[in-house]
Amino acid sequence: MNWPLEAFLSFLAAGAFGIIFNIPRKTLVSCGLVGMSGWLFYRSYYLMFDDPIQATFIGAFIVAIVAHILAKIFKMPMIIFSVAGIIPLVPGSRAYNAMRNIVENDYAEAVDFAVQALMISGAIAMGLVFAEVLMQLYFKYQARRTQKKMGFTQE
């Protein structure tokens, strides 16, 4: 796999999706970075372990974590950063193959692809959920710590 090329293409694709979703102009580059990191993690996991479902989970997880961090930095809603990053993980080719096999009356093959596409969609959702829960726990912990710190300084 050609790393720099894939990094560049996924960066460009996520940035282009940012334009389609009309995200604020100054966040376009960071949006591209989110898409790039998600895709690179997805690809490297996929190449290492050859499991598209787990790889998609990792990709979505990374996208959501990076999007949360950027949302804190920019003080903007998190979806601005995550939408474009999610798109490359969408199981487009599997859904397409399922559709094609249905048309060709090859239902066994079609069900195989459709189930894979469904599982991958579920993996995207679970990746988002895990990242969200993790970030919420972390922010709560951090808030409690700052509160404690302020308590100390007031004494």
Binding site: A13, A16, N22, I79, V83, V90, G92, A125, L128, E132
Partner: protein, 251 residues
């Protein structure tokens, strides 16, 4: 609850509902809209306010003994810049950097304007994204110009049909049919190599990414009404695209 005068209360209510309406119309998550409205209400001394947001309308009750207000949300159009702007205004209002009147003025300003990128730039972005996905999905370099063109044309057709008919699924169906036909024609006439990757790449700009993320996040926050309806919309969109491609492939 500290009493606030009626004029001020009405202004505050107008301001919250406007903020919610603009956010919802521009593609924010339901729970974020509720959160924003409640935060703004608390900053204006409305401690026991309630808010219920669905993709079709917003209900807001300032307190138990005051009348509830309702706004209907009509069309939705993805415009995340507006979401970010309303969010910034509400943050400044909550932080006390803006008065209520100033915040309301800024909200009306945001509501009147669209911050959309020009259509040609969006079409270009769709074309670039299609070309990128063609390579990422394992297509050959020789097919790049076709994915670029077909992706751009497909996105443009969807936008045009959407403007004319206002039916989202129909627009996506027509767009998918056009993409499929063009891709098959290009390969049939001997220019393109692989119709599958061209179609997959070109269809990507139509994928309902925002709906999927919003549905998941709303479901997590416990907003099942909007989560399910957005999920259904995402599913129907995907189905419309799939049906469009299937029709072409069946010939």
């Amino acid at each position: 609850m500290a009493e606030i005068s009626e004029v001020r209360r009405e202004l505050a209510l107008d301001c919250f509902l406007l903020a919610g309406k603009v956010m919802m119309e521009s593609g924010a998550e339901t729970y974020r809209v509720e959160d924003t409205m409640i935060r703004m209400a608390v900053s204006q001394n409305m401690m026991d306010s309630h808010c219920f947001v669905t993709p079709a309308g917003i209900m807001f009750s300032p307190s138990n003994d005051l009348p509830t207000r309702f706004v209907r949300i009509h069309g939705r159009r993805t415009d995340l810049e507006r979401v970010a702007r309303v969010n910034a205004v509400s943050r400044r209002l909550v932080a006390g950097q803006l008065t209520l009147q100033q915040a309301y003025d800024e909200m009306t300003e945001i509501e009147k304007n669209h911050y959309l990128f020009p259509l040609w730039l969006q079409v270009l972005a769709a074309a670039v994204a299609s070309a990128c996905f063609l390579i990422l999905m394992g297509g050959g370099w020789a097919d790049i110009p076709f994915a670029f063109l077909i992706g751009g044309i497909g996105f443009y057709i969807v936008e045009m049909v959407l403007v004319k008919t206002r039916v989202k699924f129909f627009a996506e169906f027509i767009g998918a049919v056009a993409i499929g036909t063009l891709a098959v024609l290009v390969v049939y006439s001997g220019f393109g190599n692989d119709p599958d990757t061209i179609i997959i790449g070109s269809v990507m700009p139509l994928v309902p990414g925002l709906l999927i993320t919003n549905a998941v996040r709303d479901m997590m926050a416990g907003h099942f009404v909007s989560g399910l309806s957005m999920g259904a919309e995402a599913f129907l969109t995907a189905f419309a695209i799939g049906a469009g491609i299937a029709i072409v492939l069946s010939f």
